[in-house]
């Protein structure tokens, strides 16, 4: 069974003009107008999806940043005050000193260095030259951190390039 093409001209304009909100019920009037409604829904859906993407990217954009890099944080130190935020930088070699409460070190980035007083036992991968994200606040010229998170890069490098066979899985 098929609809003659003439039906398009008859049912088309009237139906599209009146029953915009009719939704699935409009399908009963014939396949051709129903198809137009679906196209309209698809267009509306695409616009909504695009708007959502735009909102997420633009509106929430800056607040979705997990941390502030050292250079930017130092630049905004006045406005940041003693508010809580996450600071990101690279652990400067030779600056790490264990303390009774945690660890002291310096983070660098963008040519700026900030001394850190951390009251948290560092994660196992904490070491010199590794990027870290510190949860805390500025206290004078130093940054008081109550949590240290290691930020791993997307690079994977073999530890022993000349030894293909690693120790058995049970080791370490």
């Amino acid at each position: 069974m098929s609809t003659p093409p003439a039906g398009t001209a008859v049912a088309g304009p009237a139906a599209t003009g009146t029953a915009a909100g009719a939704g699935p019920q409009a399908a009963g009037t014939g396949p051709v107008p129903a198809r137009r409604f679906r196209l309209r829904y698809a267009v509306v859906g695409c616009v909504l999806a695009g708007a959502l993407m735009f909102l997420l990217a633009e509106g929430l954009g800056s607040s979705l940043n997990y941390y502030i890099p050292v250079a930017q944080a130092v630049h905004q130190r006045a406005s940041l005050g003693s508010s809580h935020f996450r600071l990101e930088g690279v652990v400067e070699p030779g600056s790490v000193r264990d303390t009774s409460e945690g660890v002291d070190f310096t983070v660098t980035g963008g040519g700026v260095a900030v001394p850190v007083v951390a009251t948290d036992s560092p994660p196992q991968l904490f070491q010199a030259n590794i990027p870290v994200v510190l949860d805390g606040h500025f206290a004078g010229s130093t940054f008081a951190a109550d949590q240290i998170i290691v930020k791993h890069s997307s690079q994977y490098i073999a530890a022993h390039p000349n030894r293909v066979r690693a120790p058995n899985g049970s080791v370490r």
Binding site: Y41, M53, N65, S153, A159
Partner: protein
């Protein structure tokens, strides 16, 4: 001749094979092949990943988790949800409208949800020793969690009783809406500052930052999980087909029973 009236029972006419409930011999052979390939390649990935590849310079043995996590995420995000979005589009497009696409989208989403959960779990298990935390509310992790919730909503929506084509239409829109989050998850590491590292292989310059046996193992892991996904998808599709077939049979029986009652009275 552009439009075709819906057949008497769309569930039987669209994609239902004339074969028995166990499927054709070819289907069974395909499933067997996929199953063996998937099991062997997954096993090989575990062997290479845990015993053969070297430890990483920075993270030591923890790098071994990296052979699993990206493959699982690849299947969830791009294969499963990508396929679900494509199938939903094909259903909504009038020329290709068929319950075959609806069933495929449903199958892909269900498998995709399982893989997304595995992505979050495997990532969490890597994050605890590497970052020092099980979870961080950064853009990548949050958008992935949102993705899981959105597609769980899709599966819930499918359970609302409705006519097959009403449900298919509704589900297709839901899938397309949820799939908007897929590119957000992918680009989140570029658009925002995240704790999660950027892409190692599919980075903007497409220059992999992993080499040698580590790279090959990562690649094998992705292939292995893709094959596993294919097996699960085919079986899940068959389940949808059989459910519809059973539903149609029961409907017919109910109609027959009603008719018999009417005839007796």
């Amino acid at each position: 001749m552009t439009t075709i009236a819906p057949p008497a029972d769309p569930r039987l006419a669209e994609g239902a094979p004339a074969t028995g409930p166990d499927g054709s011999a070819r289907l069974r052979a395909t499933l067997w092949t996929l199953g063996v390939l998937g099991a062997v390649s997954t096993g090989a990935t575990v062997w290479l990943g845990i015993w053969v590849t070297p430890p990483d310079k920075v993270q030591g043995n923890l790098v071994r988790l990296v052979y699993l996590h990206p493959g699982v995420a690849w299947v969830a995000l791009y294969l499963a949800f990508g396929l679900a979005a494509l199938a939903s589009l094909l259903y909504l497009w009038p020329r290709t409208r068929s319950l075959v696409w609806d069933r495929l989208a449903a199958a892909a989403v269900e498998v995709g949800v399982v893989f997304t959960a595995c992505t979050l779990i495997s990532g969490s298990i890597w994050g605890r020793p590497t970052w020092g935390v099980w979870w961080a509310w950064d853009a990548r992790l949050t958008s992935t969690a949102v993705l899981l919730v959105l597609f769980l909503g899709y599966l819930a929506l499918r359970r609302v009783p409705a006519e097959p084509h009403v449900r298919a239409r509704r589900s297709a829109f839901a899938a397309l809406f949820a799939a908007v989050d897929v590119p957000i998850v992918h680009f989140s590491v570029l658009w925002w500052r995240t704790l999660h590292q950027g892409a190692t292989v599919l980075n903007p310059t497409l220059s992999p930052e992993i080499h040698g046996s580590m790279a090959w193992t990562l690649l094998l892991g992705i292939v292995a999980l893709t094959v596993d996904f294919a097996w699960m998808l085919v079986v899940r599709y068959r389940i949808g087909l059989l459910e519809d077939r059973l539903g149609a049979e029961e409907l017919d029986r109910a109609i027959d029973a009603r008719r018999a009652e009417g005839g007796a009275a």
